[in-house]
């Protein structure tokens, strides 16, 4: 008993001595956290000797806001959504991050040009990109398979019901893409009344064939049950269904909707230097590429794409499943939190009024 006490005191003394060399990272838990531990944390500790404490939260923005408001910040790096990153930055809770301090790509391209558009915010650096993509059940069609967003709206050539999420954010853009609007102009068009009318007019053409989904697990189930022949779905979910469950699904990357997760550092982070080191390390080209071994989310750097290897099962080539592959980026719409912070309420009302009208 006494020995244990002495030993544990000695150990905690050691731990205390090491506190200068640690960093607290708050992330989302689950398979996503595992991918970060494997790809970022282990090599980071091996290289710098700084210990990484991983803390799981339902949504890390919530404890971040609470800690800042209580004036007692204990986390150093937080993994948050883009909208939260911008909001918290606007409220002055976060440290501003100069992109010049981020490491350049292996070929020397500076970070500013290497990250995908929108990945570098005033106070945040994106690590992964995930997409909402169209997926179809190959057993539902014979001969020609659908290939574009326009085919999603063509129920004559490609019969069957369609799955769409019941919100304006992830439906209106798809209608416009299918109607021929280039991805780069989506928000300009959606910002006008005529543009919104145009999107709803396009949605009208398939309104009676749509099964509306609410939770992320639903579209995969709808597709597997044959309830819909085509649906939009989060790319990580459909990857799991295709690879782990061998479902006969295919992905159409045309008109994918991209979201990002971002690293932010609160202003009063207790281990500020280590936090900055961690952020630089975790968002370099190799680490982001390594993460794709463990989860089907795309690296936020373009230079990582060529380094993406096999999935952890050892046989699945990950590159074609990345939302950031050249094919996937060709006609991709990036989430615009500023636009939606302005328009969400108005669009939600209009969308629901449209749903209710027959």
């Amino acid at each position: 008993m006494k020995t244990t006490l002495i030993l544990s005191t000695a150990l905690s003394g050691l731990a205390f001595a090491a506190t200068a060399q640690e960093v607290n990272v708050v992330s989302w838990g689950g398979a996503y956290e595992t991918s970060q531990v494997e790809a970022y944390n282990k090599p980071f500790t091996a290289e710098t000797g700084i210990r990484v404490n991983m803390i799981a939260a339902d949504n890390p923005a919530t404890p971040l806001k609470a800690q800042v408001e209580a004036g007692n910040v204990t986390g150093d790096v937080f993994d948050v959504e883009v909208s939260d990153a911008i909001r918290l930055c606007d409220e002055g809770a976060l440290m501003e991050i100069d992109p010049a301090m981020l490491p350049a790509a292996p070929d020397g391209t500076p970070a500013v040009d290497d990250f995908v558009p929108g990945a570098l915010q005033d106070c945040a650096v994106a690590n992964i990109v995930w997409g909402t993509v169209i997926s179809y059940n190959t057993t539902k069609f014979e001969g020609e398979m659908p290939q574009t967003a326009a085919d999603f709206f063509d129920t004559e050539t490609f019969p069957g019901k369609r799955g769409l999420p019941r919100n304006p954010k992830r439906t209106l853009y798809l209608a416009l893409i299918a109607d021929g609007v280039p991805a780069a102009e989506i928000y300009d068009v959606l910002g006008t009344d005529e543009g919104v009318d145009r999107a709803f007019a396009k949605l009208d053409t398939i309104k009676n064939d749509v099964v509306w989904w609410e939770a992320g697990a639903q579209p995969v189930q709808l597709l597997a049950d044959g309830e819909v022949s085509m649906t939009t779905v989060y790319n990580g979910r459909v990857f799991d269904a295709m690879v782990a469950e061998n479902q006969p699904f295919e992905i159409i990357w045309d008109g994918q909707y991209m979201d990002m997760d971002m690293f932010v550092i609160p202003k009063d982070a207790p281990n500020l230097d280590a936090a900055v080191e961690y952020l630089k390390f975790a968002t370099d080209t190799q680490r982001l590429a390594d993460q794709a071994r463990y989860i089907a989310y795309g690296p936020a750097r373009q230079s990582s794409a060529s380094l993406v290897g096999l999935y952890q099962d050892g046989v699945t080539e990950m590159a074609p499943h990345m939302p950031t592959s050249p094919e996937a980026l060709e006609n991709a719409v990036m989430d615009d939190p500023e636009f939606w912070a302005d328009r969400d309420a108005e669009m939600v009302e209009r969308f629901n009024a449209w749903l209710a009208s027959s």
Binding site: R87, E91, Q221, D225, A341, E349, A356
Partner: protein, 432 residues
């Protein structure tokens, strides 16, 4: 002391003259006072016993609901962070064009808000009333971090032309008072125009009144269905011998104990177009393979799933009342010549009313606030008002509008409760 006061014999005292006198206890205190004192003590002890529950209800129920309701008419997002321009609004009449003082106040407030990093909150508040303005505030705030020089009007307009919009100034005037009815107006599809008149919003935006109507209509249908389905079951449960009725009771309660999500998902598996029910109908040849019925992801799905989920709330109160009904009343009615229908209608059914009232009230109130089931199986035509409340709570973050919608829902339910009390009488309610 207390013992003395409570001793009944001590009170039997009369004066020497034999006439009635004030009763006193053994120590001479008037009995009424002694009794009151001892009762006060008992009351205090009883109060201390319920104190934890009272505190619990106060902290977890009354305070949060009160705060939520307060949000529906009180929002200081603008007035607290933009004090100078709010003061200008307070001094001037509605319709006054912004003068130099107003522009200077606006510039000063925006600069201060940008420094304090509160400009996004201000923008969010204005955006509730005028869509598309949040970014105007945040982008102007970013531009103002280096300060601003006069002339303020020209310089602000140079940052963004939208600052000259009279509608924006009208909305800012509205928001400069923290107490507002605007969220309630929005909750019934109304808004104020630039002159401050209350007008209906654009037809394409009207959604809340329709959803309120649909919520109450569907809740009524569901209540009626639970009654039609639940009444015979409750009767069976109440009249069967105890062993059999216990077995049946377990069948009623088993789904009650199953997770709501599991039950909702099971309905999806059963009712979808490629689901069990449709497969069965096609197999038996009742419908063709191309004519599979759409029974879920619409209003039908919401009604079916919610009726099933809420059924126990109707059956249990009915059952508890039916068990206490003496069967000899019906036998007496029959023996006096009533037909079985008349005996049921005039003797049995009226006695079940307290249970029916309780069940109907429970089912209706639960249905009005239902959220997860319509969200999952409601498709486009089966959404209820609670889905919009949830949307504003979690997605658009307009808590004030969510609170106003919830307050209206609460008020409507209270009105119905009152009507019920007037028509049936709340004393007749029997929950078990």
């Amino acid at each position: 002391m207390a013992n003395v006061a409570l001793d009944p014999h001590a009170a039997v005292v009369s004066t020497a003259s034999g006439g009635p006198a004030a009763l006193t206890s053994a120590d001479g205190t008037p009995l009424a006072r002694a009794l009151a004192r001892s009762q006060r003590r008992a009351r205090r002890r009883a109060f201390l016993l319920v104190l934890p529950l009272l505190a619990f209800i106060l902290i977890t129920f009354v305070v949060p609901i009160g705060q939520m309701l307060q949000r529906s008419f009180y929002n200081a997002g603008f007035s607290a962070n933009m004090p100078q321009v709010s003061a200008w609004f307070a001094e001037t009449e509605r319709g006054t064009d912004p003068d130099d003082a107003a522009w200077a106040a606006l510039a000063a407030d925006l600069t201060a808000a940008a420094e304090a990093r509160t400009v996004a909150m201000v923008g969010t508040r204005i955006n509730y009333d005028l869509s598309g303005t949040r970014s105007l505030f945040t982008s102007t705030g970013r531009a103002l971090r280096g300060g601003i020089e006069p002339p303020y009007r020209e310089n602000l307009l140079e940052i963004d032309q939208k600052w000259g919009d009279p509608q924006l100034w009208s909305v800012m005037r509205e928001a400069s008072r923290p107490v507002t009815a605007n969220f309630y107006l929005a909750a019934v599809d109304r808004a104020r125009d630039a002159e401050g008149n209350i007008v209906q919003v654009d037809e394409r935006q009207r959604v809340y009144t329709m959803l309120f109507g649909r919520t109450f209509w569907l809740s009524l249908v569901i209540t009626a269905l639970t009654f039609v389905l639940g009444f015979p079951i409750a009767h069976l449960l109440a009249t069967l011998p105890l062993r059999k009725s216990n077995l049946l009771m377990i069948l009623v309660l088993l789904p009650f104990w199953t997770s709501l999500l599991v039950r909702t998902t099971s309905w999806m598996v059963l009712l979808q177009q490629q689901g069990v029910v449709n497969d069965l109908l096609v197999w038996t040849g009742i419908i063709g393979a191309s004519g599979r019925l759409q029974m879920i992801y619409n209003q039908t799905g919401t009604i079916i799933a919610m009726t099933h989920i809420l059924l126990p709330f109707m059956i249990l109160p009915l059952y508890s009342v039916m068990r206490t009904i003496n069967p000899s009343y019906v036998r007496a009615a029959r023996s006096l010549g009533a037909s079985s229908w008349t005996a049921f209608r005039r003797v049995y059914f009226p006695q079940t009313l307290p249970g029916l009232g309780a069940g109907a009230l429970l089912v209706f109130i639960l249905a009005v606030g239902y959220y997860i089931t319509p969200a999952l199986v409601g498709g486009s035509s089966g959404q209820l008002i609670s889905n919009m409340i949830a949307m504003h709570m979690t997605s658009t973050l307009n808590w004030s509008l969510a609170a106003a919608l919830a307050a209206l829902l609460l008020a409507a339910v209270l009105v119905l409760y009152w009507v019920y009390d007037r028509m049936v009488g709340i004393d007749n309610l029997k929950l078990g």
